[in-house]
Symmetry: C2
Subunit: 326 residues, 2 copies
């Protein structure tokens, strides 16, 4: 951890050094070390989030930390990689003092234990503006086993893990919508927005099965579009097959028009993948084994673009592609 | 490269994708791949810089990019590692448009060629505040050859590459000082501040020779202090031996009092290392071979702390430990 501000050494020593693994060298060296097993590749991804853009300044710091970590673990899972380490840089305004840092690093510590990962190093600097948090995650995979976005083929079935749209609805709750729901229901949706569940077990198990994979961050339709674009294919999604939580289904009963918006909404961090039909049994067995719902929602076709269709195969207009922040 | 803002995909495609190497997968996948040769370790470091704190908003964007890259390469060199790749996240205010990005990425491209490295991936987001740029660099080293800060032993000689204090003087020039110098002299100092020369050739060549190494970012005295603290030793620096540029020497003639401040000033990004006396010939031969000046400035002793002494061995007060930003 390099650093020059006065107070930064102390901040790193007190708050971040306890998070470091053996390769982090106690965060007292110029750089960290990563061993790499023979026949393995390292997989690297990074995300940056900004207060007021990607999260609200008043959001609980532990949840901000855990979401930042988890969206990166989701990217690793989408390649089929197992997470190992992360590097963190923080640019923090002066008003975020020790209390915020205690909560922030407790959130990191909690998810380090949960996912079996550790901090390698990073940097911690001051800013006059809103907090900017940048995290680079490192995972590993057997060389050649990585699941790209580009391998989908016409005839493949399209699958998605978990449920879709809860994070979008949770953001709505934070903005004052869905007052008809019970407090536990609202809390469920907000939690799905604030604390995604990256599919770190399912992703690596899909190596050799999924031909193309992505995690749903920009919205199911947009992310399936990324698979189609890089694979040179089209895809059709049967909107009635979209996996929804019971809370989302309850909202749909009074607002059926919202369904296409859930297909376009983002921040789900579920795995979306294409696999040949003969893999169906294996995928369903994996779903049972890991207790992660996996739902077939459509298929890959020749052509370009993503189509939504209803029960009768009629096109459903796509209301908003991609996902907007605050 | 994950990303959600509208326009971000376009920004990544247009400005950053051309910088990506083969492992970056064209920046169209969820993560990047890094191969690791048998018997090698990866070395990872990260720095974040903020407009108005670590650089001036009006600084040329190409130099900002190159300095950010170079300070990280300097950290890798200080471990003895050879640079391979980097990951970049940018949080940019709306006023930094395509023109700024063109210059910024041209700076990166220039130094990619110079140092033989490529972009693996990252993220690019919007902020309401000042720009925050975070860079993670990845290098490699033969396993076990890494040079830590903690290996210095009493009796080792202390060496430093290049010259010390120019960056501090360059920052002074930017603030309006040293008007007595000629324009080329002022330009030389400003360039030393804005564009350090990381010792990427020398660092790896010191594996097996240097027992402890660090790069001078916080100031020579402070950074030697880091070596001493982790090594459990003290060090003495003969201030008359400090390697100075001819411009710095000229300034010293009229302001001799400034010398101890140069020893405490930062941002030099020179290599500071401890090696046993019997390595002297090898170090001087390396210096000739690589055409990088390397100067013996002191030695490691039992005890704690760093002392500055004059020609007669008398203590010189250390004026300011570490380095202050704008």
């Amino acid at each position: 951890m390099a650093g020059s501000e006065f107070g930064e050494f102390e901040r790193i020593r007190r708050f971040f050094a306890p998070l470091a693994g053996p390769g982090g060298l106690g965060l007292v060296d110029d750089a960290a070390l990563v061993d790499c097993l023979p026949g393995r590749r390292l997989v690297v991804t990074a995300d940056a989030i900004v207060a007021g853009v990607h999260y609200l300044p008043e959001d609980p710091a532990d949840l901000v930390a855990r979401k930042l970590l988890r969206v990166n673990l989701s990217d690793l899972a989408a390649m089929g990689a197992r997470p190992l380490h992360y590097i963190l840089t923080t640019a923090l305004p002066a008003e975020l003092g020790p209390e915020w840092l205690v909560a922030f690093t407790e959130g990191l510590a909690q998810d380090q234990r949960r996912y079996g990962i550790d901090l390698l190093g990073g940097d911690s600097v001051a800013t006059q503006g809103p907090a900017v948090l940048s995290l680079t995650a490192i995972g590993e995979i057997a060389a050649g086993q990585e699941i790209r976005r580009s391998g989908a083929q016409p005839g493949d079935l399209v699958w998605v893990s978990g449920s879709i749209g809860d994070a979008f609805l949770g953001l709505g709750v934070l903005r004052g919508a869905h007052l008809e729901l019970s407090p536990p229901q609202r809390e469920y949706l907000v939690r799905r927005f604030r604390l995604p569940e990256p599919r770190t077990e399912l992703g690596p198990r899909l190596c050799g099965t999924a031909r193309a994979m992505i995690d749903v961050s920009d919205g199911l339709v947009a992310d399936l579009g990324h698979i189609c674009e890089t694979s040179g294919t089209a895809a059709v999604v049967e909107i009635a097959r979209l996996p929804l939580s019971s809370v989302a289904r309850e909202i749909l009963q009074s607002s059926p028009d919202i369904l296409p918006r859930l297909a376009a909404a983002g921040d789900d961090y579920e795995l979306l993948f294409a696999a040949p039909p003969e893999a169906t049994e294996h995928i369903l067995a994996l779903s049972s084994l890991l207790e992660v719902p996996v739902t077939r929602i459509g298929k890959i076709e020749p052509g370009t673009g993503v189509r939504l269709v209803d029960d009768d195969g009629r096109p459903v207009p796509i209301t908003a592609a991609g996902y907007r922040h605050f």
